[in-house]
Symmetry: none
Subunit: 310 residues, 2 copies
């Protein structure tokens, strides 16, 4: 227990793995902790087409496996352990962070939080069953699989409307199901949908069930005002009811917005010196694999500079 | 000449090509212009090991070729044309930018500047005179000309050390001259030089003059602490002391720092609305392929949002 790491990276998605690659190249004593599966939430999508370097796309699992190999070739270990919380130990003239694991703890000079986020789920029947078989949480990733098909988009915020517009470039018909009779999305986005013959709306309604056999075939929709139910045929259901950052274990420790996204500067520095954050757990505008990777590299660079200045 | 593009991307390095991939996926009418060679200055290096997704590294030429293929698969054209300057045309209630090319011009609603940077010169006597006669800014390009010869590498960053290692496969002896007594380069790189009997260091020193007749024969080195001068025989001088942005054509048009790097916010928005900048031409802290790519994606996203709001 006497070992003190230069840095411990929490999370083995694109941001955390890239932070690992860069930390290793900077010669840091680093460790990556992952509570679930290496790869992060991107592996919810089957294929990624917008990561530069892979024309025609690549399976997200394969891409993340390449990242993992690259990290391991640099002798950085990835351990499957969940971090429960972080404490500061101020020493005479240094600062050490103590990471609480389920059965023990780790000491480290710095922390790179890359704990990601997860899509908010509807929590309805068929949702988990058809993930990757018609149920998706990422239009950018999966739209091309629904060329000339009918799809349902659930949600009424900016992201839902943006994704619906994006999806309409591929799908034959996009039906946006929203629980209220008014959209939360920016008017400019709404206006765009009004000139789009492929997009139509079902208001005051919720999706109650996703149905199909091997793949999605329909959704059961309930009007929340009349309680009437209808079945709508579709090949895909895109759910955009928000993402939630995996930052509960850092509550009251790091500065966050009210949704729990960690606030950093452009060097990925959080409200605590020596603690950096990158990827989807971070408050920002554009949540992509390529941006998560860049933030991981920047976090490792900032971490290296911080350690050199100590 | 009546066509007005949604966006024209200036530069086909990692930033510009990624901006192209994202612009295409947002459904924008886009065009990429490149004055020299697709790939940008990264192709001056032989191999890249820190781009996530390629364990063991990949030749930079091959990686950039994959980017190019990915762009072309999305039906975005890359044209070999140099932009001389940009003018704004304010119309009744819209704004169009006019790009001056050598023999014609292009009209576009937005511009993504990804014009990159080029190696900085030392600005010393003999440097210009012996370019191509022993003075080089690209190990990958010129190493084979220095087989079994003695060469000098100037610089102490990642690029200098990477190139020194590469050059040592050809040269008999590589002397790295660095103005400080400590290298800025990643420790993994520094370690590689320590096990390499061909590489040695001269610290606290600068090259003051490059000497020779038809070709380089020696350099004059000054120790910055003692001011003593020594002459070192060599057939080649490889200079890796930083980069300077290719932004001369935008002088007095966009806000830049005093070195000519374009100033943007974190959405890649420059001082002119509808003009975005990304990659090595941008003022920032960390110049990497992965960060250039992320900035290209962010620029395309901001560009898309701007066009939707118009």
């Amino acid at each position: 227990m006497s070992q003190v790491y230069d840095t411990v990276i929490i999370g083995a998605g694109p941001a955390g793995l890239t932070a690992g690659i860069y930390a290793a190249r900077f010669g840091l004593q680093a460790l990556i902790l992952e509570k679930l599966a290496v790869g992060g939430q991107i592996i919810l999508s089957s294929t990624i087409e917008n990561y530069p370097g892979f024309p025609g796309g690549i399976s997200t699992f394969e891409l993340m496996d390449k990242f993992k190999t690259q990290v391991e070739q640099l002798n950085i270990k990835i351990e499957e352990k969940q971090v429960r919380g972080i404490e500061v130990e101020e020493k005479s003239n240094s600062r050490v962070y103590r990471l609480q694991l389920p059965d023990t703890y780790l000491q480290t000079k710095t922390v790179i939080v890359a704990s990601g986020a997860q899509p908010k789920k509807l929590g309805i029947k068929g949702e988990d069953e058809f993930i990757g078989k018609g149920v998706s949480y990422c239009g950018t990733c999966d739209a091309p699989f629904f060329r000339d098909k009918e799809i349902v988009v659930v949600g009424g915020g900016d992201r839902a409307i943006e994704e619906a517009i994006f999806l309409s470039h591929y799908a034959r018909k996009v039906t946006i199901v929203h629980r209220r009779n008014e959209l939360r999305a920016a008017k400019i986005l709404i206006k765009k949908t009004q000139n789009n013959p492929k997009i139509n709306f079902v208001f005051d309604s919720v999706v109650e069930e996703i149905q199909g056999e091997n793949n999605v075939r329909s959704v059961l929709i309930k009007n929340v005002k009349t309680n009437s139910q209808t079945t709508l045929s579709c090949a895909g259901v895109f759910i955009f009811v928000g993402i939630q950052p995996n930052t509960g274990f850092l509550k009251n420790f790091l500065e966050m917005d009210k949704l729990g996204f960690i606030i950093t500067d452009d060097k990925m520095q959080t409200s605590k010196v020596g603690i950096f954050a990158c990827g989807d757990c971070r408050k920002k505008d554009f949540y992509q694999v390529i941006t998560a990777c860049a933030e991981g590299a920047i976090a490792a660079n900032s971490c290296h500079k911080y350690l050199m200045d100590e």
